[in-house]
Every structure is written in C-alpha cells, then in structure tokens.
Amino acid sequence: MGANLAANYVQAVAMVLFVIGFANLLLQKNLLKKIIGFNIMDSGTYLFLADMGYIKGRVAPIVTDGIQEVERYINPIPSGLVLTGIVVSVSVTALMLSLTVRLYKRYHSLDLDEISMLIKKEKGV
C-alpha cells in the first residue's frame, strides 16, 4: 500500500462507487437496476476526474477582483471535461431506457434471463 491513501480518500470513495456500480451490472438481473448501476459507475468516474483538479485552499475558476494568478484558482480542465460528460450520460441513459421499453413491449419481462430464454425459443434452438 502506498502512503497517500489517507490523503486521497475522495478518490478511494470514487473507486468504491465505481466497483459498486460494476457489481450491479454483473449481478443484477433486472434491466432497470442494471441501468442505475451504470449511472452510479458514471458518477464514480466523474468524482475521480473532478477530484484530480482540486487544490486545497483555492477557489472555483471564476475570475474575481481581476486577480489572474495561478495560485488563486483550482485546475479548470477536469471540470470542463466532466461537464460535457454529465450531459452525455443522460442521453446514454435515455437510449438504454428506450431499449428497455421496447424489450418489455416485445417480451413482457424485465428479467434478462427470461428475455434470453424467450429469444432462444424464438430462434428455435
């Protein structure tokens, strides 16, 4: 174990969130719960990225009082990257939910095992 685990506790939490979301993806049978797990995974990644740019004792990157010194503001790059990521994640969620609605209309089930059984049956295997 490295020495910086106590200082990097936010990133450790982000990794825990990522793993919980991943476990949801692997172990849940319900499609809606899988999508929620995917969203939690997203949040974990964003938390990890945004925490990279945080610098102790500095303020948000909005120029106030005309001061333009690097020593005053945090790193603006991770914030910008995550900002676009959050909006993309909602469109990905909407796409997955619409697929779920179509699957439910066709197979009348949200359980992935049942759906795959029904698909196999349709193919005549």
């Binding site: 476990a23 120029v63 909407a94 619409s98 049942e114």
Partner: protein, 319 residues
C-alpha cells in the same frame, strides 16, 4: 428577364421539397428509401395465450430447480463475479494509494495548460468564468462533437419510441396518462407559480454563462426541466401551441448548424492566424465574450430540445 415560375415547375425545385418536408406534409424519403411503416402491435387471443404459456415455460426453464446445469452455472457465475469485483476494488484502491496527494499545488495535473488558461484566458476569450471560456473556445470542437451526440441520441430514441401520427390521434387520452387525474389542482396551481420562475432562472443561467457558474448545458437542462413541469401540469395540447414538431425540427437543426458555422469560422481564423472579427467586448459585461454568448444560447436550445424530446417521446410517443 425574370418570369414567374408555374406551379408545375416549382414542384420540381428543391426548395419546394425542402419546405414540404419541413412542414411535414410529405416525407422526402417516401418512395426513395425502403421503409417499413410502424403499426400498433395487435395481438389476437390465441397469440396472447401462446405468449403467456411461452413466458411461463421460459420462467420455469430459467429458474428450474431440477436442472442441475443451470444451478451450477448460476453459482459459478456469482462466485466468479464476486471474486472479480473484490479483486477490482482492491487493485483500484491500491492504485489510488500510489497516486500523488490530492490538494497539492505542484501535482502533475496542474501543469502549464491550466496555467495558460487561467493567466491568459480572460484576455483571449473575454469570459470571466474560465471553465465556460475553456470549453467553448479552446475546446469548441470537442463540445461540438458532444452536441452532436445529443442530436444522435434523440434520433435513436425517436427510432425506438416514435409512433405514427394517426395512431397518436386514435390513442388520444388513452396513453399512459389515463391512469392519472387529468387536471390536478395542486399540480396546476404550483406549476403556474413555479414555471415562470424556472424559465427566468434558466434564461439567466444561459445568458450569464461567461460571467457566473452555468452556461449552455446547465441552462438548457433547467429549461428542459421547466418545460417538463409545464407539460405535466397542463397537458400536451397546451404545449403544442408553442412547441410542436415543426418548431422542434427548426430549432434543433438550426441550432446545430449555427454552432457548426460559428465554430468553423473561429477554428479557421485561429488556425491560419487570420484576424478574428468578433469583438470581445468589455470584460464583465453581459454583451461580451466574443463567441461564447451565442454558442451558449445555441447549446442551451439544443439541450432543452433534447431533454423535452426525451420526455415527450417516452410519455406519448410523439412530440
């Protein structure tokens, strides 16, 4: 010498087809692209019974307590998944413990790029909010691609969930709103207070993106949320008076094209060291910041349209 085109000739032009397509009277792709019209799924009684039986059979087969192979497979799958998850957790936290200390000023992440954005950002972009200035000028094409992602996602959701106009008319009042009260007094009263406030707040966020936290993405999302509340309280008929499918098409496509044009102009002039004729204005005023204000407005329209379209498509199957 100019002469007036006859009706027959006008019908041959591209402009006629474009406006016909825009007003929705005829799809430009009918008779040219092979398409399958979407029909409402109608089940006969026998089909339904067969489906129910199949469903029951599939459930029994999937959770068969006598089929040893499935039980063993499920157990092994769960075990392997759990072991893999724990391994992932341990390795990720191990990696985090070796990362440089968060909060230090001399980390590798705060390098000369961030220094450049902070020290010269205000002079070069005219935006007080450095994040907005960064994503809309230095990284404008990145954001353009991301706006395209929104557009494509809406198109995909439309492919999945959009119903034919005739079916919508026939289904009027018998979609999933039939199980809820049509004009809830609590919701209506609260919405008539809340909607104006939300819209004004959204427009404030949109127009002050270069001066304060916010910008196109957050302002557009708030605007979309306000429209969702309005639809929920007053129904689709009232909303269609100011926002229907034609307006949606025009707003969305023209917003995307505007962004493309502004972005290309900025990119070409910047990459070739040609003089850029967009004035930056006085830093700190509302009308300032060069291309940031128009792009913020355009992105806001795009995001609001996307959010409302998602809701309407899920709810009703059409805009």
């Amino acid at each position: 010498m100019s002469r007036r085109k006859t009706d027959e000739e006008y019908r041959q032009t591209g402009a006629f087809r474009f406006f016909r397509w825009l007003s929705g009277s005829k799809d430009a792709y009918i008779d040219t692209v092979e398409m399958k019209p979407q029909t409402e799924a109608v089940e006969t009684k026998e089909e339904e019974e067969r489906r129910e039986a199949e469903h029951k059979h599939a459930v029994e087969k999937a959770y068969d307590s006598n089929n040893r192979a499935i039980i063993v497979f499920n157990k092994i799958y769960r075990l392997v998944a759990a072991i893999f998850t724990v391994f992932l957790l341990v390795s990720l936290i191990y990696a985090v413990s070796y990362l440089p200390k968060i909060g230090d000023a001399d980390n590798a992440t705060s390098n000369e790029v961030a220094r450049r954005y902070i020290e010269n950002g205000v002079q070069e972009t005219g935006a007080v909010n450095i994040v907005s200035g960064m994503i809309l000028t230095y990284r404008a094409f990145d954001t353009f691609g991301e706006t395209n992602v929104l557009f494509i996602a809406t198109c995909c959701v439309m492919l999945m969930l959009m119903l034919d106009e005739k079916i919508l008319e026939k289904m009027d009042g018998r979609d999933d709103r039939r199980f809820e009260p049509k004009s809830d007094p609590i919701l209506k009263t609260m919405a008539s207070f809340l909607c104006p406030v939300i819209f004004i707040f959204a427009i404030y966020i949109l127009f002050n993106g270069h001066l304060s936290p916010g910008g196109g993405f957050s302002g557009g999302a708030v605007l979309g949320a306000g429209m969702i509340i309005y639809v929920n309280a007053f129904g689709f008929k009232n909303t269609q008076r100011f926002f229907n499918e034609t307006i949606y098409k025009i707003a969305k496509i023209s917003a995307l094209c505007m962004y493309g044009l502004i972005g290309s102009y900025f990119y070409i002039t910047g990459a070739n060291h040609i003089a850029n004729h967009i004035p930056l204005g006085k830093v700190g005023e509302l009308i300032s910041g060069g291309i940031i204000l128009p792009i913020n407005i355009v992105v806001g329209i795009e995001v609001a349209c996307t959010m409302y379209a998602f809701y309407a498509l899920f709810r009703r199957g059409g805009l």
